[in-house]
Subunit: 393 residues, 2 copies
């Protein structure tokens, strides 16, 4: 797939404002017509898309005048962000598993490479109104996964989500918040500061256009992005019929690992997790068990030892970070940032990218060169290793 | 298999004193020589069993003079008990799955029919030093299983075992204690009163001869009897490497259901259960889920509706209890006992037997006639129903 041209990018940006996330009819039209013709068809400046209902078209026509994708794109750029489209180098290919429900594009803030981070990511989700046990475990898992070099993805909600993000941040690790609102609409309000920290140290992304407000259905649809983006979803606490279970079941449908943290059978906030476990989800009790499961997938995972792209394909920032990693015993993020003469956040983002590419490995607080990183120049492609191979880290 | 004669019964009783439970060499000799010749061979009044080591024989010879099976059998009869042997009508056939490790016999106190009770039994086991959560859940499960007409089997230990027994007793239900000591040696001492209540309302049984004291290995070997006797084993709380896990794994080897109750991942007393669940045991959170699982086995289970033996094969006590069950809506144990003019314990024992035979069903506090109980005279044999049939009760 080639990178989209400016017209196509502008059309996709406009379509995120004109349509709701995950609309499969929109996905089909997009596949058949392309974004530019679809936008014209919906806004009345071209032939209407096949089978479009009159009321739908009328609604789109009414909103056509308010569309200003250039302003949206400019605003996001001003905020240090970007709008990613399918075909972009940073586009996370896993989202393509959603088929016609694939996001039209992703509004992103934060410097790391979305595609590379997603390759080594795990979702940790759960109840907003969780117990102390739930937030304690979520924070432990967030920190433990970060210490093992995994990117912690969640929904920035109160409760389990927030605790998981905070755990990853506290361990100096990588975390991604997937919002059900616009990139400029911190939700919940009480997590404004948390989202600022995630933007600095990690990634915040959403399908919704700037200014978009969360609704019940947008939360549910957001969950499919979390499920598809990551290599597995861990539910920490959830009542029956909770949104976290939707994420987990979606993850299972997508062939991702579905995991649950058990709790007391007398706790309603563990009832949903236990239901999930009885349906076949994997019971996990700590970050090691999670890492072992998601690390065992072959299809998405980069090899655990040695790089997957040639060193001379690295961008200059990544190369600077790689050259700053001490050759023996490794070093902490601060040291490597000093060696590289780069900011801490930029260095951390690069280190996670280098890890996804197989050049470095994280062990607790230290980053080390991967076994073959210094020698290999012509690596194997990521998809070719045997799927049954178990991660050794 | 025919019922053993008096010499054979006496020999088996003596052998329970001369050998340790679960000794597979003893089991093989027993199969080849029979109990009478084996006893003679071990005590020096007949040719020694093939391959018997000299030190073993010397040990047996030394203890031969102290054997007095008639006194043991008389004592147990005096205590209102009995010594059951393979071939006896009440012998629980499931124990034969233990092969050469099958008990030589069972010393039993309590009036119910061991075979019939075992047919509808579930083991609830777990840590001695359990948490409040563990004892709470064990009591809930004990009561809930009893209310659903299941016999709760456990090891009479402190902690989970005791709570499970007490839960069943409190619900006016059936419970069986399998001891690692002699039938006259209440262990632990603090459970003397509990064991007295179980003897009155249920069954206490052991492989060990009167006066036998528990040892570490006897506890482990006792667990195989619990596993084999029941249709499934539920572990409520257990640390890594605990005895309850041995019971559960033994249950799995024997093709029984292995179940675990989850707890908080931060609790060491749930760590063993979680390990078991990660190995493939079924996660269960209440008595309904347990009953659904064990009720679904076809091979051991009597049909859930309608009797499995003809009415005229019932003994007079069972027939009296059956005739005392009100025809519409059923009745409680007390009422049925009054109607039958029998004691409460004897009535309860008969009702559980009638349930195992398919004549009655327990629903909460009430006993009702099973759908076909009043009409059927020529029932289907128990082994012929489709194994996949799910229990409806």
């Amino acid at each position: 797939m080639t990178a989209p041209g400016p017209d196509e990018r502008r059309a996709r940006a406009a379509l995120t404002r004109l349509t709701e996330p995950g609309d499969q009819q929109v996905g089909r039209w997009l596949r058949e017509l392309g974004p530019v013709a679809l936008l014209r068809g919906l806004t009345g400046t071209g032939p209407p898309p096949p089978g479009a209902r009159a009321d739908r078209l009328a609604g789109c026509h009414a909103r056509a005048a308010t569309l200003d994708p250039d302003a949206d794109l400019a605003a996001v750029t001003r905020w240090g962000g970007r709008f990613l489209c399918p075909g972009d180098i940073q586009w996370p290919g896993q989202l393509d598993d959603l088929g016609d429900a694939r996001p039209l594009g992703l509004w992103v803030r934060g410097c790391p490479d979305v595609r590379l981070w997603a390759l080594r990511s795990v979702a940790v989700v759960g109840a907003r109104a969780c117990t102390d046990y739930g937030s304690h475990v979520a924070a432990l898992l967030g920190a433990g996964l970060a210490e093992r070099g995994w990117v912690v993805v969640s929904g920035a909600a109160y409760g389990v989500d927030g605790a998981a993000h905070r755990g990853a941040l506290a361990a100096g690790g990588a975390t991604v918040a997937v919002l059900a609102s616009g990139i400029d609409v911190p939700y919940p309000r009480g997590h404004t500061e948390l989202l600022d920290r995630i933007t600095e140290q990690g990634l915040v992304l959403t399908e919704l256009p700037p200014g978009g407000h969360p609704t019940r259905s947008r939360f549910v649809l957001r969950n499919r992005v979390i499920a598809a983006l990551t290599r597995g979803t861990v539910v920490v606490e959830a009542e029956y019929r909770s949104g976290s279970l939707v994420t987990a079941r979606r993850a299972r449908e997508l062939g991702r690992h579905t995991m649950g943290v058990p709790g007391q059978v007398t706790s309603g906030l563990s009832a949903g997790v236990h239901e999930l476990l009885r349906e076949g989800a994997q019971l996990v009790t700590d970050a090691d068990e999670i890492a072992e499961l998601v690390g065992a997938i072959g299809d998405l995972a980069p090899p655990r030892r040695g790089p997957v792209v040639a060193r001379d394909l690295l961008d200059t920032t990544a190369l600077r970070a790689l050259e700053a990693v001490p050759g023996r015993g490794g070093g902490g993020t601060e040291l490597i940032a000093r060696n590289a003469g780069m900011g801490r956040e930029r260095t951390l983002a690069s280190l996670y990218e280098l890890q996804a590419l197989g050049f470095v490995e994280r062990r607790g607080d230290l980053w080390q060169l991967a076994d073959a990183a210094s020698t290999s120049g012509t690596p194997k492609p990521p998809g070719r290793r045997p799927p049954a191979r178990r991660g050794g880290a």
